[in-house]
Amino acid sequence: MNILASYNWLKEHVHTRLSAEDFAKEFSLRSMSVESIDRLDQRFENIVVGVVKSVVPHPNADRLRIAMVDIGEKEVPVVCGGTNLAENMRVVVALPGSKVRWHGGADWTELKKTEIRGVESIGMICAPSEIGFDKIACGDHEIWDLTALVDAPAGASFAAALDCADTLFDIEITTNRPDAMGIIGLAREAAVAVNGEFVPATTLPLPRGSKEGVLRVRLEDSRCERYMAAVVEGVTVGESPWWLQKRLLLAGLKPINTIVDIANYVALELGQPMHAFDAESIAENTIIVRPGVKGEKLTLLDGKVVELNELMIVIADAEKPLAIAGIMGGKDSGTTEKTTTVIFEAAMFNALTIRRTSRAIDVASDSQLLYEKGLSPEALPTALARAVELATQIAGGALVDVVDVYPKPREPKVFAFDPEQVRSRIGVDIGDDVQKDILTKLGFDIAEKKGKYAVTVPYWREDDIEGSVDFTEEVARMYGYHNMPAVLPASRPPTAFDDATLDWSSWTKRFLAGAGFSEFFSNSMVSVADLEMYGVSPKDALALYNPLSNDLTHMRPTLIPSVLRAVERNQALTSAAKVFELARVYCSKEGNIPEERMMMVFGEYGVIDAEATFMRLRGTLEQFGAKTGITFTFDRLTDNDHWHNGRTVGITIDGVHVGVLGQVASDFQSSFGIHRSVFLAEVNLEALFPMMRHSHHYQAVPAFPVVTRDIAVLLDEHTEYEKICGVVRGAKTLVTDCRVVETYRGEGIPAGKKSVTIGVTLMAPDRTLTSQEVDDVMTTVIRELALRVDGVLRD
């Protein structure tokens, strides 16, 4: 949550001479982050108060008029469309060189001397929103009438006349520090952060009312820890004085009326939400704090009708609900200009209840934001006293009654404080006195007993400070993290090693990239359509309870749908490619978190030559195996609907299934809208990890020459390589290798047959082979081929 804090207001409570920029820097380094600085004095440069001397119609435009405006040293013509423009009106004149927002838009533009429809115009008469006061009520096409607001002379600087030569800090208040959502709390922080004197508020304690017993309060819900109310009679509700309106406006709030403004002002000053009721709307002068009752309805201030229930705390009178506690008041019990007696409420509600209620009814407010963060019941008397003080000052009322229901007053929190522990956790030698000084200035009360410190936590930090450990932060941040040295750990290194599965994952990615595959990286969240298009039942995938959209409803149990989606997206732009993805998939388990399995998918799309592609992919996996000490076995797969059953193998290691390599079945290819064949290998890396090792096999380089002979053999189309080479290798021990050099089908080859050129490698470990020996071996090879696979030698 953020607060827009006025530097002028802050400076009333902390003495400092720092420039706004320096203040922001020091404050950010020790307290909370100043996210931006808005220099109003600069923003209002060249904007002055003008007095309209005469108004004449524009000769060329029906909706425009020409005002002669006294801007001090002279009168200038300004073309203006303001419908409320009148003689003797005090107006805001933005002169050339100033910055304005046209019609309250988002961008600031610099004004220039101009002609509007042929008439010279020196500057612009502004509506509030055009100089940044968006929250000031002002009719459409009306300009800001300052006549009643200020009596500054014509030509006076706007910023000076309206006391706006200020700087606004937009500060991010961390959720543990709702106390800093008030100017006083911020100033207390600032006093330590920028080393200036803190000036507390001077509100006197609440006096006793003159007619005690006028208001009755019944507390019937323990989720309200304390309820205070003050009745002020004889108020005149109208427009607040400018100084008060201005503070609300600069903080981004909209002035409403004297009483509402006072409540909001107190919240801004002290960080304690307040509410105000019109006493006349409260039946039997009785306020009941109770759980909502099912069936009750309440129309809120913003017009929304909410059905109440026991989840929420309700402020009611003897007859009806008046407000949803801590969140928003009802429309009918608020103050109006007719109000003469007002009841200010300052109360403490359970943070969790407020939070749940706000979520349940989908109503947010500044008050709810503060309550959610955790406030203190001890803050109420001051806040209520401040509201009453302002009401008597501004609205002319008189306090008649104060009620305080606080069944179980809180005891202050006290924790032990050990400066030595602070030093060791920070790693810097910060003296006891420095530490104590910081804590004291922040409002902590330190008692010393036999060399030990007991620290009492101030009420405004009760929720935040949970134990002794929290004092370290107070000292450290105010000492300044930027003042501490940076030291590399010199302690013993860990005995644990990198997780091997992560190492191997990285290694595998590099291996695949080295082999020419490019990496896809897809969202783990997929849609029902993705799963179904790949024939996976969504029931087998982990479903999300609160998905972001219909596209992202399940955690993928397989990478293939993501890869196919990516292929489909790429095919028109990159017609063929080698790709891979390596990621964990999530396999649901009943009543448990899912099993996370590292999977690898690599392959080629846009395939033209199926055989060559298959061989490349298989070769990649074989090379992968060779590098990691794994021997894969490939067996033809003919019974899996996901794959092309003529072009696919199952992959096993010692009989254990670890993956599939082949062509994606055409049904699934077309269901994803892919035009050309896709060949993929899907491998369960998780199963491989325990076996993987960096494999370096040494084999002596042959001492004697190897001989290679090629023979072309006519074979049946379905005779597999493995069979052929098995025969060749088994023919004679001198045969050390056999590979397919070329496979030819076509002219001269009968249908159903293929011509395979086989390269046979021969070698003896102890001698150079004679050509007679080689010829003998080849004769045996040819005979064996004829005998076992019906191979016919071609000429």
């Binding site: 920070i426 992560l502 490019s518 997206r569």
Partner: protein, 355 residues
């Protein structure tokens, strides 16, 4: 005799001078310097002279031979050179042809960043751990000092697993997609192997989707636990990482912040490279940073309650932890200016093959 020899020398030198091709050169060599060449023939005539005349003429004859041989050598060199020149003129290459790029694959930017980040931390003894990406809310929140219903949980817009229309429940609470890698903290401590210097890099999920926020992104979580770990060491580690990853000229700073699972907590800033940490470029406010600083991520000293949840005695052990977005960190350095972070995971090969 003498005149004959000198005449022969003059003739030979003239011929060599005019030679243009290797063939002419060979013919000239045979004619003058060959075994039956004219010089050899002339030498034979020396035998007919008397001793004195033979000595004088022999000396001249040797001089002539050397001179002619030298001339031949020079001519040969000239011919070889000119032949090479001719060949180069014929073997001209169009060197303006574009390079043919080898068919290498491309690792995803995120993979590259993860590898690089792991490497840097490995140098200072941090080892990579693996922890679940879908986990119990106990590890994502409760064990991190965020009790059930704590409002701080709202800051992480968390996805929950579903089971028959309800939030999936099990022995350790609800099942969530980890909204941060901090779920690895207590899990790492539970292993009971100390000291800990861990880097946990994993996928995280949050209910957000915009040009700056992805529903799936990566974080790297650092955790160091030992006796006497202090804030200054966190500063040291942070400084080391930033200088290695972003450059030695980058400055770092810690700023107070609030997280439930660390105490004290801070945000880590690095100086902006665009404005060199000044906050201004040519007198105008820097568009990239806030006052010269860029926010990198959160960190802090491990909260005693978190150590306790991990089975460690907070009076004996202290530690620090940090968690930053991988994509954010990578974008802050890369200078590739991807204006929409969603581009990263669109799997467009035209994008992927650029890295």
């Amino acid at each position: 005799m003498q005149d004959v020899l000198l005449q022969l020398q003059k003739e030979a030198l003239d011929v060599f001078l005019k030679v243009q091709t290797p063939e002419e050169l060979e013919a000239a060599r045979v004619e003058y310097l060959g075994r039956k060449g004219r010089l050899a023939e002339a030498m034979k005539d020396l035998a007919a002279l008397d001793v004195d005349a033979r000595r004088d003429a022999g000396k001249i004859a040797n001089d002539v031979k050397r001179t002619v041989e030298a001339s031949f050598a020079a001519t040969e060199a000239r011919i070889v050179e000119s032949a090479a020149e001719d060949r180069q003129a014929q073997e001209w290459l169009d060197v303006s042809l574009p390079g043919v790029v080898p068919a290498v694959g491309h690792l995803h930017l995120t993979t590259q960043a993860i590898d690089e980040i792991s490497d840097i931390f490995a140098h200072i003894g941090f080892v990579r751990s693996r922890h679940p990406e879908v986990d119990w809310d106990y590890y994502a929140f409760e064990s991190l000092n965020m009790p059930k219903e704590h409002p701080a949980r709202d800051e992480w817009e968390t996805f929950f697993a579903e089971d028959e229309g309800e939030i999936a429940l099990g022995e350790k609470g609800k099942i969530v997609l980890t909204p941060h890698t901090s779920n690895g903290q207590v899990r790492e401590m539970e292993k009971g192997v100390l000291p800990i210097r861990m880097i946990n890099i994993g996928k995280c999920y949050r209910r957000q989707a915009s040009a700056r926020h992805l529903p799936m992104f990566h974080q790297f979580e650092g955790l160091m636990v030992d006796t006497n770990v202090s804030v200054t060491e966190l500063k040291g580690v942070f400084d080391y990482f930033v200088k290695r990853y972003f450059g030695a000229n980058r400055e770092t700073r810690l700023r107070p912040y609030h997280f439930r699972f660390t105490e004290p907590s801070f945000e880590l800033d690095i100086s902006c490279a665009v404005c060199d940490g000044t906050g201004k470029v040519d007198g105008v406010k820097c568009k990239l940073c806030k006052g010269g600083w860029l926010e990198l991520g959160g960190a802090g000293m491990v909260h005693p309650n978190v150590l306790k949840a991990g089975g460690l005695d907070p009076d004996v052990y202290t530690g620090f932890a940090f968690g930053w977005g991988v994509e954010r960190t990578m974008m802050m350095r890369s200078g590739i200016n991807i204006d929409d972070i969603r581009t990263l995971y669109k799997n467009d090969l035209r994008f992927l093959s650029q890295f």
